[in-house]
Subunit: 210 residues, 2 copies
C-alpha cells in the first residue's frame, strides 16, 4: 500500500485526500494526465493549489495512489480464481486474462495515464513493473508445469514466453482502451488474446484436456 503526504492519519481531511483522488479519476476519464493541472485537482476537491501539496507531493503521487488501487483490485480478483489449468487449460487462461481486461476497462483513465507515466516517473515504473513481474512469474510457473507434464511443448523458454504474452496483453488492452488504430474490437479482445496464449503455449489449436 502506498502511504504518503499526510503527516499522520487522524480525523477529517482524509475526505480531502479522497476528494482529490475522486476528482483525479473523474478527470482522467475525460482527458489526458498532462491536460490536468494541480489547479484542476485542487478546485475539484474544493481546496487551493498550495493546499493540494499538503496531501500529495505531486500530481504523480496521486496517479501512483490510483494505480495502487487498480493493481490491488487485479491481484485480489486473480487470487480468487480456481487454478484448474490441468482440467481446462483454455478456460483457465481465458478467465485470468479476462480479469485484466475487465479491470482495465473499468479504470481506463488510470491505466492509460499510468502506463504513459512509466516513462517519466520512477515510482510508477517500479510499481508497474513489480506487478508485471508477479503476473509474469505466475504465468511462467504455469507454463513450466504444463511443459513438465507434457501438455505443452518446449522449444521456447517458459519465462520468455510468459513475459512476451503479458506484454502483448498490456499493449493490446491499452490499444483497445484508447481506441487506437490499429486495434481490435473490445468485444473480441479477450477471445483473441486467449487464442494467441493457448496456441503459443500449447503449440496447437486445441490443447488436450487431462
Amino acid at each position: 500500500m502506498v502511504q504518503r503526504g499526510r503527516r499522520t492519519t487522524r480525523v477529517s481531511g482524509d475526505e480531502r485526500q479522497d476528494a482529490i483522488l475522486v476528482t483525479a479519476e473523474a478527470l482522467l476519464a475525460e482527458r489526458g494526465f498532462d491536460d490536468i493541472s494541480i489547479e484542476d485537482l485542487a478546485r475539484g476537491a474544493g481546496i487551493s493549489r498550495p493546499t493540494f501539496y499538503f496531501y500529495f507531493a505531486s500530481k504523480d503521487e496521486v496517479l501512483l495512489a490510483l494505480l495502487d488501487r487498480v493493481i490491488t483490485e487485479v491481484e485480489h480478483r486473480v487470487g480468487g480464481l480456481p487454478r484448474d489449468f490441468e482440467s481446462d487449460p483454455a478456460g483457465a487462461w481465458t478467465r485470468s486474462i479476462g480479469i485484466f481486461v475487465e479491470v482495465f476497462v473499468a479504470h481506463r483513465g488510470v491505466a492509460t495515464a499510468a502506463i504513459a507515466a512509466r516513462a517519466r516517473n520512477d515510482e510508477v515504473r517500479v510499481l508497474w513493473s513489480k506487478s508485471m513481474q508477479s503476473w509474469a512469474d505466475f504465468s511462467t510457473e504455469v507454463i513450466r508445469s504444463e511443459q513438465a507434464r507434457g501438455a505443452a511443448p518446449g522449444g521456447i523458454d517458459a519465462h520468455d514466453l510468459a513475459v512476451s504474452l503479458n506484454l502483448m496483453n498490456e499493449r493490446v488492452i491499452t490499444a483497445v482502451l484508447n481506441k487506437e488504430s490499429p486495434a481490435i474490437a473490445e468485444s473480441r479482445a479477450l477471445d483473441v488474446l486467449s487464442t494467441i496464449w493457448i496456441r503459443s503455449i500449447y503449440g496447437s489449436v486445441n490443447p488436450g484436456r487431462a
Copy 2:
C-alpha cells in the same frame, strides 16, 4: 516526408535544421525526451532558442521528423525482402520481424520517445498508427493467404491476429530497449517473437513447407 518550419528550401541553413536533428538524436540516446529542453537543442546546434523556432515549430516537430526517418528506413528495408512465405514460412516471418528489431535497436532513443509522445501528440500518433496500420495490413494479407491455402488454421480473424502480434512486437521491443523488468534478453528477442508468431498463426510448432 514531413516538411515544415522552413519557409522555403534554398541554400544553407539546412545545415542548421540538420544540426538540430543530429543533436536531438544524440541527446535522445542519453536521456529522455522530457529532460531535453529546446534550449539544449538550440545550444547543440549552435543557435539561440528563438532561432530554433525558425526551423521547427516545437520540440515535438523535431521528434516527428526523426520518427519519419526511422519509419522510412523500416519500410525501405522490409520492402526489399523476398516474400517466400510459401516455401519457408518460419524464415520469412523471422526476417520481417528482424528488420523491426534491428532498426529500433539502432534508433532506440527515437523509438522510445516517439512511442511515449503518442499519448500527447496527435501528429506523432497519426504517423505511428499509419505505419502500424500498414504493417498490420501486410501481415493480415499474408495470414489470410496462408489460411486460404490451408497452411494456417482458421478459428481467429486474420486481422485481429495480425494487429495483436504487431502490437506485441512493439511492446516487447520497447521493453527490451528500455531494459525494463520484466523483459527478455535482447539476444533472444527475435527468436521468441517469431516463435510466438508462427505458433499462433499456424497453430503448430512446425509449419509444413510447401
